[in-house]
């Protein structure tokens, strides 16, 4: 399975570099220096070929993780909904609305919401406000590194239709083309109350068992990836970041 992907990837890279050789300056492709295949000399003098993308990352595609059956899942869903660990990653202007959420005035801790410093331990991702292409790349890596089930809250109109940056050449218009979104929170900027409302909505969804967007992402992975790669020209990561 994974070998297949790898081969595809390698082929694709080779084609890229081939057309890169014959192409003009305008449609250039990006292979970062740290991603070029390189040769190192082993202690015993033999030559080792290192292909970073191939060797350093496991290029597996994501697989759907089916929910377990019935009551157990309901119970777990309840637990998940009551303990939402948000990845502490402020992607845009909206991240200024998150600190107040934790302060005495709003105190999201009451609802089992807390920030976690690492994706591995968080299950919710707040895309706060406009999302530039550069940030999107990091967002995607972080999102893919979160263990499923995971949820995305799209905060602010910029994530819905580009908001006031709808015509900017560097920020995206619709987040749902790149990541599966559970809850949209409209407004520019939505106030913390709105964010809290969003969380409540998310809780309902999870409790109803609708918080399966991670699997959706896995299902339509190629489509999402195509969209992502369309705008992220210098894709210097494996297709899926474990």
């Amino acid at each position: 399975m994974s070998e297949l992907d790898i081969n595809d990837k390698v082929k694709e890279m080779l084609e890229k570099s081939a057309e890169n050789a014959g192409s003009k300056n305008s449609e250039k492709t990006f292979v970062h220096p740290e991603d070029e295949e390189r040769e190192v000399i082993a202690p015993d003098g033999s030559i080792i070929k290192v292909n970073p993308i191939y060797d350093y990352f496991s290029g597996k595609k994501p697989t759907e993780e089916k929910p377990s059956n019935g009551v157990v899942e309901k119970f777990l869903n309840w637990a998940r909904s009551e303990s939402i660990w948000v990845l502490g990653f402020g992607t845009g202007c909206g991240s200024i609305e998150i600190p107040p959420l934790m302060t005495p005035r709003f105190d999201a801790f009451r609802f089992g919401i807390q920030m976690r410093p690492t994706p591995r331990q968080s299950n919710a991702f707040i895309i706060s406000g406009y999302l530039s292409v550069k940030t999107l790349k990091r967002v995607i890596r972080s999102y893919e590194q979160m263990p499923s089930p995971k949820y995305v809250l799209a905060l602010g109109s910029c994530t819905i239709n580009g908001g006031m940056y709808y015509d900017s050449y560097s920020t995206i218009n619709r987040l749902d083309k790149y990541l599966p979104v559970d809850v949209y929170i409209a407004g520019c900027m939505p106030r913390p109350e709105a964010l809290l409302a969003g969380f409540m909505k998310l809780k309902e969804l999870i409790k109803e068992g609708k918080g399966e967007k991670a699997n959706e992402y896995a299902r339509n992975f190629d489509e999402y990836k195509a969209n992502q790669k369309k705008i992220i020209k210098d894709w210097n990561m494996p297709d899926y970041n474990w």
Partner: protein, 302 residues
């Protein structure tokens, strides 16, 4: 009492301690929240988090040692519980304390630490290594007041066995070590600050600097195991100092109250003081705690 009954009691005791640990951590977080003027988490939050973590579907593995890390950690926690008498004077709650004395506990703390360090190390994340490096350095510093204090106690009571030390403190608050041997008591309490790992000594997993250090890569079930061992360790650390300084506990209520207060003390200090840099914390242990510890021994060696 035959071994199976003992085993049953021990398991029960561990279950109690585990839940008490979860509850205690929730309560302490609530207290911190109230200090900050917040409402704070519901008291059952830790259980939910635990469930949530177990319910996480994706599991990743960096390799074999990556598994063993949490195992070591949890075993360390269980061992801390096993080798220390939970309640004084009750045969059923004395666990496996007949297998070793304070020295065993002192060095057994490191069991979980070492395993955890190695497990996190295989994760390959730089922050893990940095966090562990700091942790070990700080631990080496904590050893000073810890050892000095315990040796002072050993001189005072002519024993290293928990049961005897607790026994010597029975019969009224006045007999507690903290009053009979205040200098050693203070030394150990200062060491306790470091051992508990709250601020200002929480550099190991400094959340907003090196994303929580060693466990950066741990998630899901691993994290659940780590959490539960963490809370157990908190209780047992407190229990250690309770047995050494505060006359141990003869029933669970006393146990709960005392461990809670000891933990509360370290959390309280943590709320008041900001985090140390590693060289600061190490040097700090070289100063007042060491001086006190030396004094604590000197008064007995003459």
């Amino acid at each position: 009492m035959n071994i199976y009954v003992k085993l049953a009691y021990t398991l029960l005791g561990f279950f109690l301690v585990l839940n008490w640990g979860l509850l205690m951590s929730a309560t302490l977080r609530k207290i911190v929240a109230r200090v900050a003027g917040r409402h704070g988490i519901p008291f059952y939050q830790p259980w939910i988090d635990l469930l949530k973590n177990i319910g996480v579907r994706t599991t990743l593995s960096h390799g074999f040692m990556f598994y063993l890390g949490p195992v070591f950690r949890f075993t360390g926690a269980v061992g801390m519980f096993l080798f220390m008498p939970a309640l004084f004077g009750s045969d059923m709650w004395s666990n496996f304390s007949f297998e070793g004395d304070i020295v065993l506990i002192l060095y057994f703390q490191l069991f979980g630490m070492l395993g955890m360090a190695i497990g996190a190390g295989e994760g390959g994340h730089p922050h893990s290594a940095i966090g562990i490096a700091r942790g070990l350095a700080q631990h080496a510093a904590i050893e000073i007041p810890m050892t000095l204090g315990i040796i002072s106690l050993a001189i005072q009571y002519h024993t290293l066995s928990f049961t005897d030390i607790v026994a010597a403190q029975q019969g009224g608050i006045a007999n507690w070590t903290i009053f009979t041997n205040p200098i050693a008591g203070v030394t150990l309490l200062l060491a306790a600050l470091g051992a508990m790992g709250h601020s200002p000594f929480n550099l190991v997993k400094a959340p907003n600097e090196i994303p929580i250090g060693p466990p950066t890569e741990y998630h899901g079930t691993y994290l659940g195991v780590l959490m539960s061992s963490g809370v157990v360790l908190h209780v047992m650390e407190a229990a250690l100092f309770m047995n050494l300084l505060f006359g141990g506990a003869t029933n669970w209520v006393e146990f709960i109250i005392k461990t809670f207060l000891i933990n509360f003390y370290s959390v309280f200090v943590g709320v008041v003081f900001p985090r140390f840099k590693i060289e600061q914390s190490v040097v700090w242990f070289f100063k007042v705690p060491m001086a006190l510890g030396i004094l604590a021994i000197l008064i007995y060696s003459f």
